[in-house]
Assembly symmetry: C2
Homo-oligomer: 191 residues x 2
Amino acid sequence: MSAFVKMGGMKKRKKADPRARILEVANRLFYAEGVRATGTEKIMAVAEVAKATFYRHFESKDALVLAYLDRSAQAFWDYLMSPTPPGDVHEALIKIDRLANHPDVTGCPFLLIAAEYPDIAHPFHRRAIEQKDKLLAYLIDLLKPFAIDRTVAATKLLTIIDGALSLRTVYGASKEIPLLSSAEALLKSFE
Amino acid sequence: MSAFVKMGGMKKRKKADPRARILEVANRLFYAEGVRATGTEKIMAVAEVAKATFYRHFESKDALVLAYLDRSAQAFWDYLMSPTPPGDVHEALIKIDRLANHPDVTGCPFLLIAAEYPDIAHPFHRRAIEQKDKLLAYLIDLLKPFAIDRTVAATKLLTIIDGALSLRTVYGASKEIPLLSSAEALLKSFE
DNA sequence: ACGAAGGCAGACATGTCTGTCTATATTGCT
DNA sequence: AGCAATATAGACAGACATGTCTGCCTTCGT
């Protein structure tokens, strides 16, 4: 019965574990308003978390930003590979186009962080490079069937992907960008 | 004659007029390190300008940022249109490719500012939208010879241009991006 | 030569940000 | 029930940012 009372019969449902709340809010605010523009105090206020609690879970704002970036990368690859990984480049591009033109998507977290921290030696910026390198490698792999310079070809595809995401940032989620159609034209030129 | 004596100067070679110095330094620092990351005091220190002088020429940091953005736009169009404007899309793309892959170029000031100020209602972000709209309109005009949906086609070209510039930001000026080659493949698909 | 305009140096007010610390309350486990 | 871990609220320190203001010096037109 104590268990019953403890769980509070769920009165405490409104407050899940603080770390998750912090990450949730940080993700939303960093993405929507920018990392530099988002103060830790605002995150704490929105997440309804005390300062000491925040610093118990994250050593610093920098640590939180890194966690946010890792979480974003995770979410991207989860989306791309689930429920089943793309069978070829075309399928991958379809999925990426759908993601880039999703109403909630207003850019790529890694392009955004690279713009906010232009120094390529900065840890945040490094995460962006790593992420793009990873995607590039994946595209190169998918281009195996093509008898071309796959590195150059993948770079071109990445250019289109990142161009589309950049335009989503500039114009907002309202304007759709013909990512897939552009990429298909490129693919045709590879044959 | 007074005009002669007046202009005659030039002795002040070591310190040009303060406004120009401020803009010069602001341009360099905003572009290389980001707008939010660059404090006005640093700009004054590097430009060797006193605080009062700074505020005599610019009402606020915001005013300076706007001046920086306008200057960037001006520089872009000057580059594109001089000494002679491109005769067709292809010539324009050649010029833009050369610009985007220039060793000093690590991105587009407008994509960068849009990333730093994601709110599309913010005056800085608005400048980015205006600039992209202007380029889009120019591309649409250049596509006149093509019997296609020129708005969509121009958007695709802009996607490639901004994708290339985004990758320059991520990877730094070392990595060359095949902008022209991608754009040519697209153009072929328009015929 | 002289007076006004503009530049220089830097103190100061004000606000914001990150991060530390204390004191109190709640939770969870045994 | 009671103890250890964790949450909350918020004061506080220290750094840094923008923008105002004062006082002094240089430059330039007349």
